[in-house]
Each structure stands twice: as structure tokens, then as C-alpha cells.
């Protein structure tokens, strides 16, 4: 066998039995990295909305004192604004036209940078939520311990150390969790495409 034989066999391959869809309605894209990311994003969008709604009812569920309502909902409003900003931005990001008709190199670069951009946007989103997480937690700790600890005389060194440790651990955990999450759900696709881009480099 030589390349002429391959060429001849290729030209004569029978493909009459290949079945083409009769309609475009049922065509669903699901197996490209951007489709996977869109799917992940859609799920997260739903979870995020459910979490926001749930968080909005927390003062009632936990019977918070009336004086805590105003600061809670002030913080909650800013939290919702931040979430809406990022979620809309992420949604708009994926509504753009696909670029599969570009040259292979351009198409791969566009896909790669879309994924990288999404990863960075996602991390920023996570970090933007961290202060809220810490503030909500401190608020609940304050309300929870106000029955047993007298805060009017100030915090003891032990309390301050515990508070500092909680804040530091929360931020660290959030940072690590975000890195893992982004790498696990998006990073592997970026890495795979980067590998193919490298194969295209001039020799």
C-alpha cells in the first residue's frame, strides 16, 4: 500500500448509507468545551438564583431581631446587585456568535481565550462574593453570641483571635475552592485547546 492506494480507496469509499437529520430542530450541541461551559453556567445560574431567594428569607427563618433587618437587607441588596452584574455579564458572554467558520488557528485561539476570560471572570465573581460571605457570617456570629457574650465592654483577646482566624480561614477556603472549581470545570478544556494550538506553531 502507498499513498496513491489510500487516495484511491478514500475517493471510492461508499457513503450512500449515511443518514442526515431531516430537520434542524432536534440538533443539539453538547460536546464542545464551550457547550460544556454553557451547561455548567446554566446550572450555576439556577443554583445562584435559588440561593439568593433562600438568603432573602434567612432573617425570617432564623427569627433575627428586628434591629438586624435593616443592616441585613442593606448588605443583601448589594450582594444581589453584585450577583446580577456578574451573572448578566457571564450570560452575555455566551450569547455571542460561535466562530467555527474561522481558520483553525483563529478558531482555536478565540475558543481558548473565551475559556480563559470566563475563568478569570468567574474567579473575580467568587472573590467579589467573599466579603459578603464574611460579613454575613460575622453578623450571624454577633447575633448568636450576643445572648451569652457582652459585646458592650469590647472583645477579649480570645474572641478577637477566634474572629481573625474565622475570617482568615473563610477567605483562604474560598480562594482555594475557587481555584479548584475553575480548574476542574473549565481549566481542563483550556489546557486541552492550548495543547492543540501549540501543535500549530511554525516549524
Amino acid at each position: 500500500m502507498d499513498f496513491n492506494d489510500i487516495q484511491s480507496a478514500w475517493n471510492n469509499e461508499k457513503t450512500e448509507n449515511v443518514v442526515v437529520p431531516t430537520t434542524t430542530e432536534k440538533l443539539q450541541s453538547a460536546n464542545t468545551p464551550l457547550d460544556k461551559i454553557k451547561k455548567n453556567l446554566k446550572n450555576e445560574f439556577i443554583y445562584q438564583i435559588v440561593s439568593i431567594i433562600f438568603l432573602g428569607f434567612v432573617p425570617f427563618i432564623h427569627h433575627l431581631p428586628a434591629k438586624a433587618f435593616a443592616p441585613f437587607y442593606l448588605l443583601f441588596t448589594i450582594f444581589v446587585a453584585v450577583c446580577v452584574y456578574y451573572l448578566v455579564k457571564l450570560y452575555m458572554f455566551y450569547k455571542r456568535l460561535n466562530k467555527t467558520a474561522l481558520s483553525t488557528k483563529d478558531s482555536l485561539y478565540e475558543t481558548y481565550f473565551d475559556i480563559r476570560l470566563n475563568m478569570e471572570l468567574y474567579k473575580t465573581f467568587g472573590f467579589a462574593l467573599t466579603p459578603f460571605l464574611v460579613l454575613f457570617m460575622l453578623g450571624f456570629l454577633f447575633i448568636g453570641f450576643s445572648k451569652t457574650v457582652d459585646f458592650s465592654t469590647g472583645l477579649s483577646n480570645g474572641h478577637l483571635t477566634a474572629l481573625f482566624a474565622i475570617v482568615a480561614i473563610s477567605i483562604l477556603t474560598m480562594g482555594l475552592a475557587l481555584e479548584w472549581w475553575v480548574h476542574h470545570f473549565y481549566g481542563k478544556y483550556a489546557k486541552e485547546i492550548r495543547k492543540v494550538i501549540d501543535e500549530l506553531k511554525e516549524e
Binding site: 500500500m1 489510500i6 457513503t15 449515511v18 460536546n31 464542545t32 467555527t100 474561522l102 500549530l200
Partner: protein, 167 residues
Amino acid sequence: MRTKEQEFLTRIEQHKGILYKVSKMYMDNPDDQQDLFQEIVCQLWKANDTFKGDSQFSTWMYRVAINTSIIFLKKEKRKVDKYEIASDNIREEDCDAHIKESQLEHFYRAVQKLDKIDKAIIFYQLEGFSHKEIGESMGISEGNARVKLNRAKEKLKEIIKNQGYGF
């Protein structure tokens, strides 16, 4: 809308052989090949409005098909390499049609071992693209396309030889 869709599906029907061959080059088992075929048709439909008619439909279609195949992700549940199992049954027949069939099977089996870019370059070569046209479609220089094509052909030759088929 209906006419546009019908026109698109007619074109796909005319070029289905090529889409089938691309799917076979990039995926090693029939289920994944079918998935990739569907994915390519889907991406072509999604990108249909970007086809301005200033190039041939087939040229534009090749590009979308290859770009989709390169980034296509296999379904994870299919771990068994059915193609490897099936290939044990290949027999060399005397009749010409069977020889061609056998050569094609060896070719498809060997091409699975190439990387994604080499597969694309071999595909364009078999479809009669010049080095310049390969370069344009891939977004690389003509010289780079030539170097990559020669290298891919050498790799393919070695793989086919290692399969025990005379080359």
C-alpha cells in the same frame, strides 16, 4: 425560514460523505462517530448565517467540520475502544473492492494515532487541497503546511507498517 433550512439540509445531503469521513478520522468507534457527525451538522447550522457565498460551500464546510472535530469531546462513558476489537477481524481479500476496503480500514485505524492537527492536514491532502489552501484553512503558512504534511505522512506510514501492513 423553512426554505433556508431545506436548502441547508440539501447541501448537507450532498456533502454527507465528507462529514462522515471527517467523523471517522477523528473518532474510533461508531457511536462517537455518529455523535461527532451530529455535532458538525449542528455547528454548520449554527454558523450557516456566516456563510456569505464568497467561497465554495464545501470549503467553508470543511473548515467548520475540522474546527468542530478538533475541539469535540468524546462522551466519557464510552471507554472501550470498539474499533480496536473490530479490527482484529480484518482479512486481506483478493478482490479489488475488498483490498480497497481493507486499505481504508488500516488507514482509519492508523490515523487514530495521529494528533488532531496531523489528522486535519491529512484530511485536506486527501481532499485535494494544495499546500497554500491547507495553510489558509489552518491559519498557518504554506511552508509550515508543507512541513507538517510531510511529517504527518511519515508518521502515518510508520504506523501502518507497525500494524503489519506493507507500505
